[in-house]
Symmetry: C2
Subunit: 642 residues, 2 copies
C-alpha cells in the first residue's frame, strides 16, 4: 500500500492509500476528492490535471499536457497509475467544482425577490397558493372509566369531526408518540395533516402550546450545481436557501458520463450517495442549523431536475435513458418517500418530482416552463434553459413544443480550458477595449477576489468583445496580435484575460481557439435548435414575442453580447428576460401550491417533444450557426451594423 496525498491550493490535504497500479482518478473519487473528469476518465478531455509534487506516478502522456507542462509535473489523473507514495496538487480550477456549500443571506432582498415574483405571477394566473398540508388544533375529552376509547380512535374521531372526512391514517411515527403527547398536553394537541379528497394523513402531533411551522424543501438538482430552499408551507416564506456543487461531478461532467459510471458495479449507489448523502443532506443540515429548524419538521419535498438527475437521485437504473428507444423509468412518481432514498427530513415526507417529458427533457424544464408563464399568454414565447445542456420550449396558451440540444457543458464552464461554474473566482462579465485590447472584468465573490476562471456569462462576454474588437474573426481565429494574444507551438492562439500574477491560480486565465471553437459549437447548437424548432412550426424568429432565459450561468447574461455572437436571435433586446434558476423556482411553486403542481403535470403531458436529430435540416442549421454570429450574417442586422 502506498500513501496518496491530494493537496489543495488552500493548503488543505486529503490522504488515502492505494495499491500498485491503481488509477489515480479512481483513487481520488473513492477519497471524495473532486477532480473534474467530463470524459469519465478515458483521457479524452484533458480536464483532470494534477501536479506531481512529491513521489512518483506512472503516467501515459497525452496531447493535453505539453512537454513543458509535463516537466513542471502536470499529469492527467485518469492516465496515472500509483507506483509509489505520491503527493499531487489538485488545482483550484478543478476544485472549483468541489462541493462548496453556501447558505444564502436572506437579508438580501435579491435572494428572495425571484420567489416573491413567481408567487405573484402564478396567483395572477388564477392558481391558488394552497397545498394539502395544514396544522390544526384539536381538543379532546380526556378518557375516563366510562369513556375508554383508545388513543388512536379518540384522535381519529376528533379529526374526522373537525375535517368532516372519513378516513384518517396515523402512521407509526405518530402512533409511537401519541400516548405521551396526548397526556402531556392534556388532550389538546396540534396535528400536522395532509388532506386529500380520499383521506387524511397525520404527519405529526404536538402539544398545542407548541409553535409549529410546517417545513417544505424545494431542490433543483442540476448536473453541476444543486440549489435548495427551505420554506414555510403555510406562508410560502423562504426560511433558508443554499447551493452546492453536485457531488456527482467527480463521476463526470455530463449526464452521459454519469450514467456510464452508474452502470458500473455499485455505481447506482455511489451516484445516489454523492447527490444525497454528500450534497443534499449536508445542505439540509446547514439550512436547518442556520435558522434552528428541526429537520423532521420538513414534511414534503419537491425535486426539479433533468431526467438523468432524478433517476440517479432515486437510485434507479438510468442506463435505458441513453439506449434506444431512450425510455425513462418514470415521468413522475406518486409513491416516493424520504425514507426510501435516505433524505434526512421527516421519514414520512413525500417526495414529488417535477415531471419529465422524456429522456432528454426533464423536470427542470417543466418546472421552468411553469415559472416562465409562457403557457398563460396568447403571445408566442420562447423559454431557454441553459444548464449543462440546452433545452427550449416554444409556445403559448394553446400549445407548447420542447426540444433539447446537445450544447454540452460549455455554459457552465465545461469543455473550456479555464471554464468553471459561477462560483467564487469566476469572471462573470468582461469588456475589452477595442484599441488597447485590455480587459476589464468582474469576479464572483467578495471584493478583491482574484480571477480563477470563466463562467458561462463571462465566456459570452469575452468572445463577443474579442469579436467586436476584431481580435478574432467569425471563425473564432485570432487575427490581431498584442501582448495578451499568444500562440502556442502548434500556432493555436489564445487571449489572456488575467496573467498568472493577477490570477488566483497557478496559471494564466485565458481563452484559447479550442475553447472558442467549443463555445461556438455550443451556441450554434442553441441557435440552430431555435431555428429548427420554429421552422418545424412554420414560425420565424421575428414572430417571437418574448424570450425567457433561465440557468445558473452567472448573475445574468449580457443579452446584447449573446446576440452579438449569434447565440440568440437578433430581435429587440427588450424581448429578452433573464429569469434565473427557474427549475428551483418551479420546484418551490409545486411544493407550495397543489394546483401549481397539478398544472405542471398538465403542462408536461400537453407538451410535444421535437427530436432535433430527426429533423433533416438541423445539421445544416447547426453548421450555419457555427460562426460568429452566423454564416448568413444577414440574420443578425444589428451585429452587422456595428
Amino acid at each position: 500500500m502506498f500513501k496518496v496525498t491530494f493537496a489543495f491550493e488552500d493548503g488543505s490535504v486529503t490522504e488515502t492509500y492505494a495499491n500498485t497500479g491503481d488509477n489515480l482518478l479512481e483513487i481520488a473519487r473513492e477519497a471524495n476528492v473532486a477532480i473534474d473528469a467530463p470524459c469519465s476518465g478515458n483521457g479524452a478531455c484533458g480536464k483532470c490535471r494534477v501536479q506531481l509534487k512529491n513521489g512518483e506516478l506512472e503516467t501515459k502522456k497525452t496531447l493535453h499536457i505539453s512537454d513543458e507542462e509535463f516537466e513542471e509535473g502536470w499529469r492527467l489523473a485518469c492516465m496515472s497509475k500509483i507506483i509509489a507514495d505520491v503527493e499531487v496538487l489538485v488545482p483550484d480550477i478543478a476544485s472549483a467544482y468541489k462541493s462548496r456549500m453556501k447558505v444564502a443571506d436572506l437579508s438580501s432582498r435579491e435572494e428572495i425577490a425571484i420567489f416573491e415574483n413567481a408567487k405573484r405571477e402564478i396567483e395572477l394566473a388564477g392558481i391558488e397558493l394552497k397545498n394539502s398540508l395544514d396544522v390544526v388544533e384539536v381538543r379532546m375529552e380526556e378518557p375516563t372509566l366510562d369513556d375508554t376509547m383508545p388513543d388512536i380512535e379518540r384522535l381519529s374521531r376528533a379529526l374526522r369531526k373537525f375535517m368532516n372526512l372519513k378516513r384518517v391514517r396515523i402512521p407509526y411515527t405518530v402512533l409511537r408518540k401519541l400516548p405521551d403527547v396526548l397526556r402531556n398536553s392534556k388532550f389538546s394537541v396540534k396535528c400536522v395533516l395532509r388532506t386529500t379528497p380520499d383521506d387524511m394523513f397525520v404527519y405529526d402531533i404536538f402539544d398545542s402550546r407548541e409553535d409549529v411551522v410546517i417545513g417544505g424543501l424545494a431542490v433543483d438538482i442540476g448536473t453541476t450545481t444543486v440549489s435548495a430552499v427551505l420554506i414555510n408551507m403555510e406562508t410560502g416564506e423562504i426560511l433558508a436557501k443554499s447551493s452546492a456543487g453536485n457531488g456527482q461531478i467527480r463521476y463526470g461532467a455530463d449526464v452521459i458520463n454519469r450514467i456510464i459510471e452508474a452502470a458500473k458495479p455499485g455505481g447506482q449507489k455511489k451516484l445516489q450517495d454523492a447527490v444525497i448523502k454528500e450534497t443534499i443532506n449536508p445542505m439540509i443540515h446547514e439550512m436547518c442549523k442556520s435558522i434552528g429548524f428541526p429537520k423532521d419538521r420538513i414534511y414534503r419535498m419537491c425535486v426539479a431536475s433533468n431526467t438523468t438527475m432524478n433517476h440517479l437521485f432515486a437510485g434507479i437504473n438510468a442506463d435505458y435513458l441513453r439506449m434506444e428507444p431512450y425510455i425513462p423509468a418514470f415521468f413522475k412518481t406518486n409513491s416516493l418517500f424520504s425514507s426510501d432514498v435516505g433524505i434526512d427530513i421527516n421519514q414520512d415526507a413525500h417526495i414529488i418530482i417535477a415531471p419529465n417529458i422524456g429522456s432528454y427533457v426533464g423536470g427542470d424544464i417543466t418546472a421552468g416552463t411553469l415559472v416562465s408563464m409562457i403557457w398563460n399568454r396568447p403571445e408566442f414565447s420562447l423559454f431557454i434553459d441553459l444548464g449543462t445542456n440546452g433545452e427550449l420550449v416554444f409556445g403559448n396558451s394553446d400549445f407548447m413544443m420542447s426540444c433539447a440540444c446537445s450544447a454540452g457543458p460549455a455554459f457552465e464552464g465545461g469543455d473550456i480550458s479555464c471554464g468553471m461554474r459561477a462560483t467564487d473566482g469566476a469572471i462573470e462579465a468582461c469588456t475589452i477595449d477595442k484599441d488597447t485590447m485590455e480587459p476589464t472584468y468582474t469576479v464572483v465573490g467578495d471584493p478583491g477576489t482574484k480571477p480563477v476562471g470563466l463562467c458561462g456569462s463571462g465566456i459570452i462576454d469575452v468572445i463577443s468583445e474579442l469579436f467586436m474588437a476584431g481580435i478574432i474573426n467569425p471563425k473564432g481565429k485570432f487575427v490581431r496580435e498584442g501582448k495578451r494574444v499568444r500562440h502556442d507551438q502548434y500556432g493555436m492562439g489564445s487571449y489572456i484575460i488575467a496573467f498568472e500574477e493577477e490570477a488566483g491560480t497557478t496559471k494564466d486565465v485565458e481563452i484559447t481557439e479550442v475553447d472558442i471553437d467549443n463555445f461556438i459549437r455550443a451556441k450554434g447548437a442553441i441557435f440552430s435548435a431555435i431555428r429548427t424548432m420554429l421552422s418545424s412550426l412554420d414560425f420565424d424568429v421575428s414572430m417571437i414575442d418574448d424570450v425567457y432565459v433561465a440557468g445558473g450561468i452567472g448573475s445574468g447574461i449580457n443579452m446584447r453580447n449573446a446576440v452579438n455572437i449569434g447565440m440568440f436571435p437578433d430581435i429587440p433586446l427588450e424581448k429578452f428576460h433573464y429569469i434565473g434558476n427557474s427549475s428551483l423556482t418551479g420546484a418551490y411553486l409545486m411544493l407550495l401550491s397543489t394546483p401549481a403542481e397539478q398544472k405542471t403535470y398538465k403542462l408536461a403531458s400537453n407538451m410535444t417533444y421535437l427530436e432535433l436529430s430527426a429533423v433533416p435540416t438541423y445539421m445544416d442549421e447547426f453548421v450555419g450557426a457555427c460562426f460568429i454570429p452566423h454564416t448568413d450574417a444577414s440574420m443578425f442586422p444589428s451585429v452587422q451594423q456595428k
Copy 2:
C-alpha cells in the same frame, strides 16, 4: 470488572462481565440469559433461583431459599450482587422458558388439521376465503421510438386495463427493480398486487417465467409462547409452522411486570427487541430456511395477542394500560408496516393486528372468538382462553360479552414451583392410583424424555387425581401420608410426582400445598368469572350449550379433571371442546380472508366488556370457588357422586 459465567444443565455456558455491586438478574437479562422472574426482580416470587458453582455472590437471604438450599449454593438472582468472578448454574426449570424454537414437522396431519377445520367452518358461515393479494400476469408492448411511455406508466396502464381501476401505486422497492425486470422479461411480468376499492398497490414484480408464491405470516404473541405459521396467501396452505418462548420472559412472567420493565429508560426498545429481533425474526428465518422460501416474499402479517403484547410489539408506551382509566393506544391499526417495527419480511408488508377491545381483553381473544364460531349460532356458547391470564366470551349470534379474570400464569406453569410451559420435559397428563398413590404420567417430547416440571394440563390432572384419591382435601391440604407425600420444616405438604433420580432435573418434580393453593385461586378466578358473567346476564351455567376451551396449556385438557377440581362448570362433558391455540388460528383466518378480518373487527366492536371487579358479587363468588371443587359442592353433582 468481574467475569460472570452462566452454566446450563445441557453443558452450555454464557459468559459476560460485570462491575462490583451489579445485580445478577440484570446481568443475566443483559446477556440474554433467560431466568424466570415473574415478580420482575423484587424478591417476591422466588423463581429466579440459580446455584452458585464457583466464586462468590453477595446475596440477601429470603424465605424462598431454605438454609439447606442456601448451603447447597442456591440463591435468588434478583437478590444477588456481583463481588467477584462467579459461575452459577441456571437450572432447567428456568431455562424451560428459554427461547427454544421449534419448527413443526408438517408431514404430521395434526399440525395442520386445526387450520383446515377452521377454514371449513368459516366458509360454512358464508365468509369467503379471499384476501386482497393477487399475482397477476401482465404482458406489455415493448417500447419503441414511437412509443416512449416511461416504464412506470407502461406498467400502470397495463394494470389499470387489467384490473379496470383508477389508481396504481408503485412503491420505491418496485420502482427500483422495474427497468431491469421489464427488459429481462421482455415486458412480460408477474405482479404481486393488493387491490382495494380505492386503488391498487404493487408489492413486487417478477419475470413472468418465475413461480411466485405470495407468503403471509400469522403470529400469535403469547405472554409466554410465540407461535407462527407461514402461509400461501392464495391457497391458505400452511407452508411452515414454528413456536418459541417469548424472549420477553426474562423481563417478567406476566404483562404487568413487562409493562413495568418497559417503562424503565430504554425499556420499550428492549421489550420490543426481545419479541421481534430475538423471537419472531429468528422464527421467520427458520421457517423460511426449512422450506427455502424468500423472506421478502412475505407480503402481509397478522398479529394476534393480548393488548399489552401488541403494544410492546409495536414499541408503544404500554404504561397507560395499567393506570386508570386503562386506555390502550389503539384497538387496531391501519398504517403499520413491517419496516416500522423491523419485522424481517417484505419491507412494504402491512401488519394487521387482531383488534383489542380494551386493556384486558385483546386481539388474542377477538381472534379466538372468530375461530370459536360462537357468533354464528343461536345457541349460547362460552369461549374460554387459558393463557397467562384467563379471558371469557359468552354469547351467540345476537350478542357477546367478554371479561378477563386475573387467573395469573398458573395455567402456563407460572406461580407453581415446578411449573413450566408445555415444552419438552413437561408432564402434560397424569393419573394417580387411589391405593398405591403411585403416579403414571406422560411427558412432552421424544419417547424417553425425563420429566422436568408440570405444564397446565398436567397440574389440572395431578390436583384432580390427588383430590379424587383423597390425598388432599377440598382446601388442598394433604390428608394422607405415603412415600410420595412429604412435609417440610414448617409442615407444608407436597406430593412428589418424580423423584430426582427419575427426573430430568436436579431436584424432585413435586407439587406443594402452596402450588395447589395458587392453582386453586387461578381455577377459582375462572369459575367465579363464568358464574359472575352469566349472572349479570341472568343466565345460569346449565343454560350453556357449548364450551370452547383454547390455550396452549398442553396437548389438550382432561375436561373431566377440570370439572372435578371445579374449574369448569359441571355440565355434560360432551359440551366441552378443546380448540387449541385459537389466537393463532384466528390470526391465520384474518390473514387469509379479508371478510374474516372485517368480521373480526365487527365482532370486537360489538362485544361488550364486563369489568368483573366492578361487580359486587364477584369477590364472594371467587371466595366460594377457592375450594375443590367448590364450597357449595351441590354445584358439582357429578363430582359429589364420585
